[in-house]
Amino acid sequence: MSTDDESFHPLGSEWEDELETMLDDTEYDTELGMQMAQDAFRVSKGELSEAEFHEKYHDDVMEEFGEDERPTKEAYQKMQAEASEEGTVSRMLSKFEGDGEESRRDAMKKMGAGAAAVGLGAWGTVDDGPEEPPQPSAGDTAAQADEDEDDGVQWGMAIDLDRCDGCLTCVSGCASENQLDSGVNWMYVLQYDDPSATGEGSELARPAGAAANRLVRPCQHCTDAPCEKVCPTTARHTRDKDGLVLTDYDVCIGCRYCQVACPYGVNYFQWDEPDVPADAIKEHYEEEGMGDHMTDDRGRWVDSRAPRGVMSKCTMCPTRQDGQMGEGQVGTTACEEACPTGAIQFGDMNDPESDPQKYEDNPARGRTLWRVNPPSADELEEDLDGVDDDLESVLEATDLEEDELTLIKAVDIVSDGLYDGDEELHSHDLDYHERNFREALDALADHGLDHDSEEVLVGLGLADETDEDEEFDGPDERDAQMELEAFTGSPDSNFRLLEEYDTNPNVIYMGQQPGPNAEQTEPTGTGARYEQLSYDTVTDGEIQIVDNRKDVLDEDTVGGGLFS
């Protein structure tokens, strides 16, 4: 580290080089980023005012990131008022975005790379002179930028296709929650053949081995939803507070243009009188103290099955998100709750700490959390009573296998910390599993097993042994990550469906991406067939789940027997 070279950054030219490489890896202009970083430092030293900084880069930022207006005077004053002692680059950068909610979201995504480019991570350490160069990743800094901006919630999902068993529990879970008619598969799972599929990467994801190519298909709740754009009535709309794309059943005229415009085929028109009456749904949920499961907090009818003559589709459970079904259900969906493998991770896509974001950041970690079930703290305590506190004795005395403990510790190592709050959690929350992991580790530590010690870590293969004159420098994150991936694999790819059409879907997939020649096979799902499933309605009836809705609808078609 040197401060006497020509570099502008207190961490010296080495750090700048690193910055430059990082910038080269992004799609954004390296020179601009470097220059902005330089000037950002000048702002921190008081050589340049924030206003001047904006003045100077407004146009460039516009051009580079495609966003937007520069701060208005009011916004600027507000920003000043809110500003903490040390201004952060991310906050300054965030002022380049526009006012629109959409553009703000967009901007923040794009800011990620830009923020990383100007060395945001190093910012806070300027004064004290850092001991070692921090290693901000684009993800981290984007996260930080996101936090700075009170950006609102955008519900969405991360779906790990390699983990899908094809059991269709999510399909029936959704149908049951929303009392859907036969064939109305808001949530749908399909299996497909694809000549371009490698099939790689999924072998380790499940104990059962490689999964068939599957696609779990809810509505994508697109940020730029074509269905909403074409709607002649605004019935199809995006809910401001959380980005859910919903249909107002009281406004829709049933023109079906949304279904036509949606590229994904996720819409289901209510062709006839639905099987379960609205009153029955209302009564049922009200009895449970869960609202009517139809009207959201704005008083618009957007949830549960649609009435006759209007459009419906996956809603991502708005009445749950409104807390009508209890605080514990906020941030969950019926399908996520039903999925036994954790393939569906629902949460706020704008929150780096949400389940889908954390899972997507490190799928091997997420999978391991779901797949490994450590003994409870109580069990461990019981088993360890009177046992020595060395690794071997501990393993012998408990149900913990060595590789299990390795994985648990590996998850701990690659995490920024495991959940230690006291919220009411469900098994479909990632935090629930984190807590189990942490409690197990804590129980071991309480017993006296120092799982951060060189001895234990080396014993588990999570750290390198040190020579006598060296100081032990903790666990090896790379080893830990490798352990996780060796156990449960890492998805082949990470994609959004039909991204090229610019719909900005809020569902991220992990696993095999269906190619243009992908063709659905029958029967769908290895675990179950659609026709084998049914659910009990709130009116004590039974509704059959059906794959092809046409089979159901044809019963009503006036064909006069001509075309059958």
Binding site: K229, P232, I253, G254, D547, R549, K550, D556, T557
Partner: protein, 460 residues
């Protein structure tokens, strides 16, 4: 009835209740029946729900969500749009030869737009909300929704055409007021409110300007613009997407409108012995124009087939392959090719022309455009970019109610002509005046016995 001089009495002949003939009543009965059957079907659809149609959801629904209703909607808008272009061209470009059918074309436009509007209502799941939901949010949705543009433009064209027709009718009604039946006095009164001869010049100029506006807007609106944009703006449907749909739709509008005008004119000529007004010459001319637009129609289809198969993306290839193998595409194309071949042949050998064949050509073109447009709608949904749902492929065959809607709206349009022809002259006075001015081509061939007198019967 050979070389007669057209006079006012000729064009007044259909008007008045007392002029109702047995064939008129019979046709009225048939048309009402066709319309009535469909209305019953529609009420049943309102009662049970749209599941009575052959439609379903695309995706996992194993069907298509838009079908014959939308195909027929496009078809009627096309006929209407072409009709008004035809009439505007007559006024603007001085194509005086067609003056006797100009008003029929305008009326066809009004009738066609009404049928199209009716289809919008019939197609909807909740037609009762049309006003509250669409008008209530108009200021927002007009920015984005092609469907709202459609409704706007259809309404605008309806108003424009009605004004246009109304203006020229004022002239006629005032001139011929004495010979018009007193029974409809109030209607004529309203139509001619504030009329003075001084306005003729002004009206003439206004009509000219409106005609100009119609011609200029023709490639932008209705079948040149907003109707094809319903489809052409959706990139995830390779069968629909692309800049060619505007021109393609416009050719469909013009071919089907000319065909419609041929049929309607023929019906009136036969019913009222108007062979000296709507002359063979007019049919020959219309047929030539039909040939020209058929050629354009086929040419644009060819463009699509070539671009869609040479080196297209996978989804686009699939969409094109379907065209090349599906009877609902191939048969209409062959029909148009056949019509074109016939029309070419008549230019080489004029003796091949006769009105019966001209009628046949018109009917073939109308069937072809209806089938092709319905196929276009349905096949677009069959071959989306996201073509993965092979276990639930889209199947579609229109239900009896949907099929009856075509006959029903043809009946509705026929009724429109039957009623309006009792009220006002369907041939304008100007045309008679004009014909009298340069009359003289008395060439005439004897009427061949046509088995059916009216467009609707032919089409049915």
């Amino acid at each position: 009835m050979s070389t007669k001089t057209p006079n006012e009495q000729d064009i007044l002949r259909p008007i008045g209740i007392d002029k109702i003939s047995k064939p008129y009543l019979a046709l009225f009965g048939v048309a009402s029946l066709a319309f009535g059957i469909f209305l019953i079907g529609w009420f049943y659809q309102l009662w049970v729900g749209m599941s009575v149609t052959g439609l379903s959801d695309w995706g996992t629904g194993g069907g298509v969500t838009w079908g014959l209703y939308i195909g027929a909607f496009i078809w009627w808008v096309g006929i209407a749009h072409g009709g008004i272009i035809l009439s505007a061209a007559v006024r603007l470009l001085g194509m005086d030869r067609y003056m006797p059918v100009a008003r029929l074309a305008e009326m066809l436009t009004l009738a066609g737009l009404s049928a199209a509007g009716f289809y919008i209502i019939v197609h909807m799941g909740r037609p009762d909300r049309m006003v509250t939901s669409v008008i209530g949010h108009y200021h927002i949705t007009v920015n984005n929704s092609p469907l709202v543009w459609d409704v706007t433009v259809i309404t605008a064209y309806f108003v424009l055409t009605a004004t246009y027709l109304g203006l020229t009718l004022r002239y006629d009604v005032t001139r011929m007021r004495d010979q018009l039946p007193d029974l409809f006095e109030p209607i004529y009164k309203i139509m001619t409110i504030g009329y003075s001869e001084k306005e003729d010049k002004v009206i003439e100029r206004m009509v000219w300007w409106v005609a100009l506006a119609i011609i200029i807007m023709a490639p932008l609106l209705l079948h040149g613009g907003v109707i094809p944009w319903l489809f052409a703006l959706l990139p995830t449907y390779p069968g629909w997407f692309g800049a060619i749909q505007g021109p393609q739709f416009l050719t469909i509008a013009l071919t089907s409108a000319i065909s419609g005008v041929i049929l309607v004119s023929y019906a009136f000529r036969r019913a009222y012995d108007w062979d000296h007004i709507i002359t063979d010459d007019i049919f020959r001319g219309l047929l030539l124009w039909l040939g020209f637009f058929c050629l354009l129609f086929l040419w644009l289809q060819l463009q699509q087939l070539t671009a869609g198969s040479f080196s297209a993306t996978i989804d686009h290839q699939a969409a094109t392959a379907s065209k090349l193998s599906h009877p609902a595409y191939i048969v209409p194309m062959l029909m148009v090719v056949g019509v074109l071949a016939y029309i070419f042949a008549t230019t080489l050998r004029p003796s091949l022309f006769n009105k019966k064949r001209a009628i046949g050509a018109a009917v073939l073109v109308l069937i072809a455009t209806l089938v092709e447009k319905t196929y276009f709608v349905v096949a677009g949904l069959w071959y989306p970019a996201f073509d993965i749902y092979s276990a639930t492929p889209g199947e579609y065959f229109p239900s009896l109610i949907e099929l009856s809607s075509v006959l029903g709206t043809i009946g509705m349009v026929t009724l429109f002509f039957l009623v309006i022809s009792k009220l006002v002259p369907v041939v304008e006075l100007h045309a008679i005046e004009h014909l009298r001015g340069d009359h003289g081509h008395g060439e005439h061939e004897h009427e061949e016995p046509a088995e059916s007198a009216t467009d609707s019967e032919v089409k049915a």
